[in-house]
């Protein structure tokens, strides 16, 4: 089974790598994206105040906070984006029936989809976090950047099971980009990647506890402020792992429901 999964990941990786090599604008956009988001928010925010006000309120350097946040945005949503948009796109271009009749498990395929982009996005971390951390913090910044990249990957992996549930919801609803355009910003808002969770209203904050991404993102943001992992941060990472495991059976079941519906109703083209 593991061998089969690895061969699926390899096939997906070849597909994604070929696409990126063929369309270099994707690579260009990927590298530039964290910088654009960071510059966008920092410049806009600075025009109505100063960076020190931000630092007073959050305890973090805004440039580090938003370069990390925008990198986290890209990495964390990998599984959700890939699974919901790929199967939907296959339906749109008429290749979904071929995927459905293939003997490969759709759950395994869905899991395999996220890994190639996750690997590629590590490079995005190297091109965005490392230069910024190094400029602002010198050599200790390099180590911190590597730890943040590792935590971000952990964050994406622990979110993957809930991401599959969300993706299944998008696919089952048949709403395509309309549902995506609601769920995507909602995930970002609840996870706290651009706005720290501790500043959210109490009711929303309470709701985010069951959200693995929100817990791991808070651990990363605390790491930025405290420059180390505290017992509380480790507890958050542990909670994210436990929630990921808890959602695993539900995610497999939700994807199977979608698969079953497609088999009964047929894929629309």
């Amino acid at each position: 089974m593991l061998k089969r999964f690895i061969s699926l990941v390899r096939a997906e990786y070849m597909f994604v790598a070929a696409e990126i090599i063929r369309r270099k604008t994707i690579l260009f956009a990927l590298i530039l994206w964290p910088y654009i988001i960071m510059a966008f928010i920092v410049l806009l925010g600075s025009s109505m105040g100063t960076m020190s006000y931000f630092q007073q309120k959050t305890g973090a350097n805004p440039i580090l906070f938003f370069i990390t946040g925008s990198f986290l945005l890209i990495v964390s949503l990998i599984f959700f984006d890939e699974i919901s948009s790929r199967f939907w796109y296959d339906e749109f271009i008429g290749t979904l029936p071929y995927i459905m009749i293939a003997p490969t498990s759709k759950t395994m395929l869905a899991l395999a989809m996220g890994f190639p982009r996750l690997i590629i996005n590590i490079l995005v971390g190297l091109s965005s976090l490392i230069p910024v951390y190094f400029i602002l913090k010198s050599f200790p910044g390099l180590v911190e950047a590597l730890i943040v990249i590792a935590l971000s990957i952990f964050s994406a992996l622990t979110f993957s099971t809930l991401a599959i549930i969300f993706s299944s919801l998008v696919l089952i609803s048949g709403g395509g980009w309309r549902v995506l355009s609601i769920i995507r910003p909602l995930i970002m808002l609840i996870s706290g990647v651009l706005y720290p969770r501790f500043l959210l209203p109490l009711t929303i904050k309470f709701f985010t506890i069951i959200f693995p991404l929100a817990n791991s993102v808070e651990a990363i943001q605390l790491f930025l402020v405290q420059e180390g992992l505290t017992a509380y941060s480790l507890m958050l990472l542990g909670l994210a792992t436990a929630l990921a495991l808890l959602y695993a059976p539900v995610s497999i079941r939700s994807l199977r429901i979608w698969e079953h519906r497609i088999l009964i109703k047929g894929a629309k083209t």
Binding site: F40, G45, S47, M48
Partner: protein, 276 residues
């Protein structure tokens, strides 16, 4: 004279038909309206919340809200230009409509006469929504329409400039095949670098000079003046005259470029376009 009149009547007929078709497909039949608006409001909240963390506590929240609202207004006008107008060419190509339009002997630009009013209705809805979101999450924006005539003229100039920008993007799509990545990056960088969000007087000197070299900065500054959000960097009259001369020159350039794109298409045929 009669020929000119007939051409005008024909243009009006195409504009009316396009308007009816886009209204039915985008606003009436498309069930996506409410979902799209909900999505947009979530995106706005996502950007507004972190930006508000920079706010100087001594500046009133109403002023901060006015700043944010001004940014939302300009950003959405740019978004409409990018995703409604420039991107429409990609749709027209992929659905084989452009070929039919060219074969009918009509200018593809005629479609825009019908599309622009539909986009403006959307824009109005998004701006009202944006005002509501800022009101709930920050404060009531301190906006006063200081000069209605200036507001109308500034908004018209903004539409001329972004329409020209959309035509340049559309021409690029026609000439080179599409590149969604570059279009997307442009849609974020351009309003930021050219003073769409931030008053020029608050921008760094080098960026301010760069912004003044583009036609985008003038309508944004005039709009902020008309809404009493911020004073423009140059006297209003100077901004107004330079803005309109620059805007109309940009429009002429973009129409010429678009025609070149169409001519190239007639020689080489249409490319199959991918979003990315």
């Amino acid at each position: 004279m009669t020929a000119l009149f007939n051409r005008l009547v024909e243009a009006a007929r195409i504009a009316w038909v396009s308007f009816k078709l886009y209204t039915v497909s985008d606003i009436i039949r498309g069930k996506s309206g409410i979902i799209s608006l909900a999505g947009i409001s979530l995106w706005l909240i996502l950007i507004i919340l972190p930006v508000s963390l920079f706010a100087n506590p001594q500046i009133g929240l109403g002023r901060v809200a006015a700043f944010i609202f001004g940014g939302i207004l300009v950003f959405n006008v740019y978004s409409v230009a990018t995703w409604d107008w420039a991107w429409e060419i990609r749709k027209l190509i992929n659905y084989n409509v452009l070929e039919h339009l060219i074969a009918s002997g009509k200018s593809p630009l005629m479609v825009y006469l019908g599309l622009i009013p539909v986009s403006l209705i959307w824009l109005l809805m998004i701006i009202i929504l944006g005002y509501g979101v800022v009101n709930v999450f920050v404060a009531q924006p301190e906006i006063v329409i200081s000069d209605l005539k200036l507001l109308i003229l500034a908004f018209t100039l903004l539409i001329i400039v972004v329409l020209s920008y959309a035509l340049v993007l559309a021409s690029t799509i026609l000439i080179s095949g599409t590149s969604g990545a570059i279009v997307e990056i442009f849609s974020w960088v351009l309003p930021l670098a050219t003073g769409g969000f931030i008053p020029l007087s608050l921008m760094p000197e080098s960026l301010r000079t760069l912004a003044l070299l583009t036609p985008f900065s003038y309508p944004a500054e005039l709009l902020r003046k008309a809404l009493n959000i911020y004073e423009p960097i140059l006297p209003t009259n100077t901004m107004f005259i330079i803005g309109y001369i620059y805007g109309l020159a940009f429009l002429t350039f973009s129409i010429t470029l678009f025609k070149l794109g169409i001519r190239k298409t007639l020689k080489e045929g249409l490319k199959t376009l991918s979003a990315w």
